[in-house]
């Protein structure tokens, strides 16, 4: 463990401090995508989650040391043509990408590579959902209409304006900006197949999906979360959008500091 930490520090030896991770306890959790497709709770193992989404500055440092992920080098099967298109050049941010804005227009492959570079991985949907259920004072605030309202408010702001900078208020676990800033990639986004016509009530075309995909949503009232699932399920791994960023996670089987 110590060795990993040292590596992370070494990597970030440039101008940027090492990313901070918060420890989350995990536990039994009522996901909107129940484990048995009916009502079963999901068990989330202890994990650590980046306190903030990855920023433009951090991603710039990454592509400088990993040139294969610069936009003019990246293989097209790993990132579509809009990958980092808002940057001034392959290695310059420019006016449309401020250093402390979350990086967007990144593909799932690129996000995964970034996380690997800091000895981490993308969080699973359940991990992300677990962390995002919190508000400032409670681990699970999802039953509070105010929690939902805040998320829906973000949805009702148009996205033609620039993305805000990172640095929202920390939640119960000390994690920031899970809501209200950007969509975020998760590791298993392509297992979140909601039927693309979401109105099939009890007759989802089960053959269309494999395994965990053919799930019914547990909480259809929970529109706020549902929309994130819908968004992620619309994507392919090489896709990028102007609102889609990511953060990384690490497993902490014992709950120790990663």
């Amino acid at each position: 463990m110590r060795l990993i930490l040292a590596c992370a520090l070494l990597f970030a030896a440039g101008s940027l401090p090492a990313a901070e991770y918060a420890n989350l306890p995990g536990g039994r959790f009522a996901s909107v995508l129940p484990a048995d497709a009916k009502t079963a709770d999901t068990i989330v193992a202890p994990f650590a989650l980046r306190r903030e989404p990855v920023t433009n500055a951090q991603f710039l440092a990454f592509v400088k040391t990993h040139p294969q992920w610069q936009r003019d080098h990246v293989a097209s099967i790993f990132a579509e043509s809009r990958y980092l298109a808002h940057w001034q050049s392959a290695t310059t941010l420019g006016n449309d990408a401020l250093p402390d804005q979350p990086v967007t227009q990144v593909s799932w492959f690129a996000a995964q590579a970034f996380c690997a570079s800091e000895n981490a991985r993308l969080p699973s949907w359940n991990e992300w959902e677990f962390a995002a259920a919190a508000d400032a004072t409670r681990a699970d605030a999802r039953s509070d209409p105010a929690w939902r309202e805040r998320i829906l408010n973000w949805y009702s702001r148009p996205s033609n304006a620039a993305v805000a900078r990172i640095g929202g208020d920390p939640n119960f676990y000390g994690v920031r900006d899970l809501h209200g800033l950007v969509w975020e990639w998760v590791d298993d986004f392509n297992a979140l197949l909601v039927a693309s016509d979401s109105r099939d009530q009890n007759d989802p075309d089960r053959l269309k999906f494999c395994g965990a995909g053919a799930l019914n949503l547990r909480d259809r009232d929970n529109y706020a979360v549902l929309m994130r699932v819908a968004m992620l399920s619309a994507l392919k791994a090489a896709d990028t959008t102007v609102n889609l960023g990511f953060r990384c996670a690490r497993s902490t089987s014992s709950g120790n500091t990663p």
């Binding site: 809009r82 209409p145 939902r148 309202e149 829906l152 408010n153 949805y155 009702s156 702001r157 148009p158 996205s159 033609n160 969509w183 909601v194 039927a195 693309s196 016509d197 979401s198 109105r199 949503l217 009232d221 529109y223 549902l226 929309m227 699932v229 819908a230 968004m231 399920s233 619309a234 994507l235 392919k236 896709d239 990028t240 959008t241 102007v242 609102n243």
Partner: protein, 496 residues
């Protein structure tokens, strides 16, 4: 099966005799016959011309099935929903309702759904005119910055709603994601002078009706079906003032009326018109002489009428509080010469007299004669005013002038009248909306302009009021009323 074949044969015969459809249009193999399938597309592919509301694309005027390419872009954008109020709409083609699509029965439609790179949400489209699972929704789920394509054959003629069906469906529709597609019958629709596109929708904002600023979507209100706004074409004033629909006397108007919902069913009515022809629910049966037609959420209707008399005709949802308190109003302005044999154009409003009516208006007649002779006295004015007041004013302000607490302000011993005894002239002529303080109490309601009253009548009523119930007395002359009538209306609610 026999009757089916017979009906089919008849249809082919009729179509053939109309000379608009060639024989092989209707297909020759009866064993594989699919209703509405006129065979493979012919000619060069056609790029459909889409129009923004209230405009409708020109008729196809085609006698053969074609391949029609429809390109529709989803754009999420902030637009006004009312004066000084903005809302983030999700749109098909940048407008609410979305672009109007017009094809012909039997056409093969290649549909391209594009989702703007600036979109936050994935979207799809369910066209009620499509035969197939989800009406295209399952084949058109599209992430921001992507496009999907699917193809369908327009088998059934009619006027159909299309809408987004991405989760949460209700929210996508509530944000304006709906529009109409017309699938013309093979012979086309009968020509008319004007075709317009009007679509109702209900909207749910966190703030109250007309609360200024940017208003976010309110999910709780949407689930409870308590709309803040009910609108034609996506914003208050979309079809009034300079943007009113227009026609001339003696013309035929066809309205393609849709209802996007998400929740409410519309009782569509045009005040002052009778629909000569309605195709209820957008289908093929014709109904005639209809006052109000029901347009279901996710449904449509075609209505036609002939204009006879000039004036402003008001399109409403006759669930009437929606019209006057939530915005479901539009105007059709008809210009042209009067036709007094159809409509006299000038009658005293006596609708609300009820049992408060006094059997004769002798004093009014007396006052009118005296005024004509230039010998009208204040006492005659008061007598005439009392009778007119009973008919017109007492319904709200009550026969004793006390009004109704909290709703209709009192006229008796009224501080509001005492402050400015000429002010009531303007109120009768122009109405009064918004908060006022009368005798120390706050009122906030709407008095419509009493434009049915002539100058003499206004003067008489006000003279009666000024000399009753402890008001300061005095006299209002018809000339003062005439002068006030010629001046522009005061700014609404300013200073009150």
């Amino acid at each position: 099966m026999k009757t089916h074949l017979f009906a089919f044969g008849m249809a082919a015969l009729l179509l053939g005799s109309a000379g608009l459809v060639s024989a092989d249009d209707a297909g020759t193999s009866s064993s594989n016959y699919i209703h509405g399938d006129f065979g493979p597309p012919r000619g060069d592919p056609i790029h459909a011309v889409l129009t923004s509301p209230p405009n409708v694309p020109a008729p196809t005027l085609r006698s053969y099935p074609a391949k029609v390419i429809v390109e529709l872009e989803v754009i999420e954008k902030e637009m006004p929903i009312s004066e000084g109020v903005t809302y983030t709409f999700w749109t098909f083609g940048g407008t609410v309702p979305g672009s109007f699509i017009r094809v012909r029965q039997g056409d093969t439609v290649e549909f391209h759904l594009k989702n703007s790179p600036n979109s936050k949400m994935p979207h799809n489209i369910d066209l009620h005119g499509v035969t197939g699972p989800g009406g295209g929704a399952a084949s058109s789920f599209t992430a921001p910055g992507h496009q999907s394509r699917f193809t369908f054959k327009a088998l059934n003629q009619g006027l159909y709603v299309y809408h987004c069906a991405t989760a949460p469906v209700g929210m996508h529709i509530a944000n304006g994601m709906y529009g109409l597609i017309l699938i013309e019958p093979p012979e086309g629709l009968a020509p008319v002078d004007h075709e317009y596109y009007v679509m109702q929708g209900d909207f749910y904002t966190s703030g109250k009706y007309r609360e200024k600023g940017h208003q976010p979507f309110d999910m709780e209100k949407a689930i409870d079906e308590r709309p803040t706004y009910v609108l034609f074409n996506g914003s208050e004033g979309a079809l009034t003032g300079d943007k009113a629909l227009t026609a001339k006397v003696g013309e035929t108007v066809r309205l393609f009326v849709g209802n996007g919902g998400p929740n409410l069913v519309s009782s569509f009515h045009v005040i002052g018109e009778i629909f000569d022809t309605v195709r209820p629910e957008g289908g093929t049966v014709e109904q005639h002489n209809v006052q109000t037609t029901l347009v279901p959420a996710g449904g449509a209707a075609m209505v036609e009428f002939h204009t006879e008399v000039p004036g402003s005709y008001v399109l409403v949802d006759h669930s009437i509080f929606r019209a006057f308190n939530k915005g479901a109003l539009a105007i059709l302005k008809v210009d042209g010469p009067e036709n007094k044999t159809v409509y006299s154009g000038k009658e005293v409003d006596s609708v609300y007299l009820g049992d408060r009516a006094e059997p004769n208006l002798a004093a009014v007649t007396q006052a009118t004669k005296a005024a004509a002779a230039g010998k009208l006295t204040k006492e005659e004015q008061i007598k005439a005013g009392r009778q007119l007041f009973t008919g017109t004013c007492s319904v709200c302000h009550q026969a004793n002038g006390e009004g109704l607490p909290g709703v209709f302000p009192p006229l008796a011993k009224s501080s509001f009248i005492a402050e400015d005894v000429k002010r009531p002239i303007r109120i009768l002529l122009h109405g009064l909306t918004g908060p006022v303080k009368v005798n120390g109490k706050d009122y906030n309601s709407v008095m419509p302009p009493m434009t049915q009253l002539n100058d003499d009548e206004v003067a008489n009523i006000l003279t009666f009021v000024l000399n009753s119930w402890g008001n300061p007395g005095g006299r209002i002359e018809a000339a003062e009323v005439a002068k006030a009538r010629s001046e522009p209306a005061p700014a609404p609610a300013a200073g009150h």
